[in-house]
Amino acid sequence: MNQDERLSILKDILLTDEREYAQKVEEKLKIVEELVNKQNQLSDRVNPIIEERLNDFVIEIPKTLGPVITEALKSEIKNSQDAVVEALFPIIGKMIKKYIQQEMQILSEQINAKMNNAFSFEALKRKFKSKRTGVSEADLMLQELVHPIIEQIMVIEKGSGIIISEYSKTQAIDEDMVSGMLTAIKSFAEDAFEKENQELNYIEYDSFHIHLQNFSDYYIAVIISGSYNALFKSQLEDKLLDFAQNSINKQDIINRDSFSEKLKKHFQ
């Protein structure tokens, strides 16, 4: 055995473990390398499919899940009304407050402008009107700013509550139902107080004022929005009395078309 052979045997004895270890590491590296390469290949193939699916999902989700979510929200809101009110109240309250503040500011500015013209012809006319009609200047001023608007006039048969005639610029309510309900309310109020010759003259509903003018066979309900004050009431009463006295006869109550024609002509 020469020196080289001896050296080789010595190397084998000393380095066998390290070689095996290095071989194992090399094998593992190969596996990892293959895996990475394979994943890259796989990604190249799979990514477009996933992207397409995602795009479809984005388009489809409102159609498929939308109604379910809406229904779930509706039922959740219905079941937790108090909680919803509690959550919304501060927000809506603030909005309303802001709106009212803004409207009040506009009103206040308009009143100031009118007050500044205290000695104008308009102001003197208002003072005179206030003295003559007994309506306060403030009410007159408010009426000038927030004009009352007649929304609808209904002529209703007493007792039955059947509508004889009706006039409105915008048809928004079922007049048969409203006239029936008004008559029922009127009957109830007049019955409940059990006093003869007393009749219900006025109903306030939300922002609407319902003026009731009573006649022997029928009554007229006038639905008004805006400011309703003593002066306007008096003017309206005059107009309604004038209409009943000078335009309407017994025949018109039977011939409802002619009643409607006259009503329209008088209040147009």
């Binding site: 048969e157 007493k158 007792g159 039955s160 509550g161 059947i162 509508i163 079922d174 048969d176 139902m177 029936g180 309900m181 029922a184 009957s187 109830f188 007049e190 019955d191």
Partner: protein, 164 residues
């Protein structure tokens, strides 16, 4: 031509007045009993082709009362037709039938009254025959708000009679 007619429904509590109206106006029925308070107003338009007339039925559903004399009389004013409803399964609701009808006739002379036995679906024809002494001679129709049997006929028949 269009005409409006006021129809008033009367009768004891729980005889099914509101159910009859809902069946006629909305074609719905619910087993849940909700007591009517005061008066409810409903409306349904019917066309009578033979007369070329549209009849608008304004139906007043009065709260149930175990004594008709307690009914608010102002609600009866100007009524074109009454429908008096009783429950065929509850004798208490028809035991005073004759007196109740006479009261109506006295208060609103010349106003037609249709007497209706409701909940017909809960009894047999033999039962109706057996009890005909109690309500048979006064009853115009046996109806069922639950099944809808003869409900439409009741109101359309009335509408036709009112425009004759």
């Amino acid at each position: 031509m269009k005409v409006s007619k006021k129809i008033v429904l009367l009768g004891y509590f729980g005889v099914g007045k509101s159910s009859l109206i809902r069946r006629f106006v909305e074609n719905t029925f619910s087993e849940d009993y909700k007591v009517s308070i005061g008066v409810h107003i409903f409306k349904k338009n019917i066309t009578i082709p033979e007369k070329g007339t549209d009849v608008s039925l304004v139906i007043w559903d009065l709260e149930g009362n175990d004594d008709i004399t307690n009914t608010r009389l102002s609600y009866l004013l100007g009524t074109h037709a009454f429908i008096y409803v009783y429950d065929v399964t509850r004798p208490a609701t028809y035991k005073n039938l004759e007196n109740e009808i006479n009261f109506l006739k006295e208060k609103q002379k010349n106003t037609p009254i249709t007497v209706v036995g409701n909940k017909e679906d809960l009894v047999t024809k033999a039962y109706l025959k057996q009890n005909s002494n109690d309500f048979g001679s006064l009853t115009d129709f046996y109806v069922s708000a639950k099944t809808g049997d003869k409900v439409n006929f009741l109101f359309s028949n009335l509408a036709e009679a009112l425009i004759k």
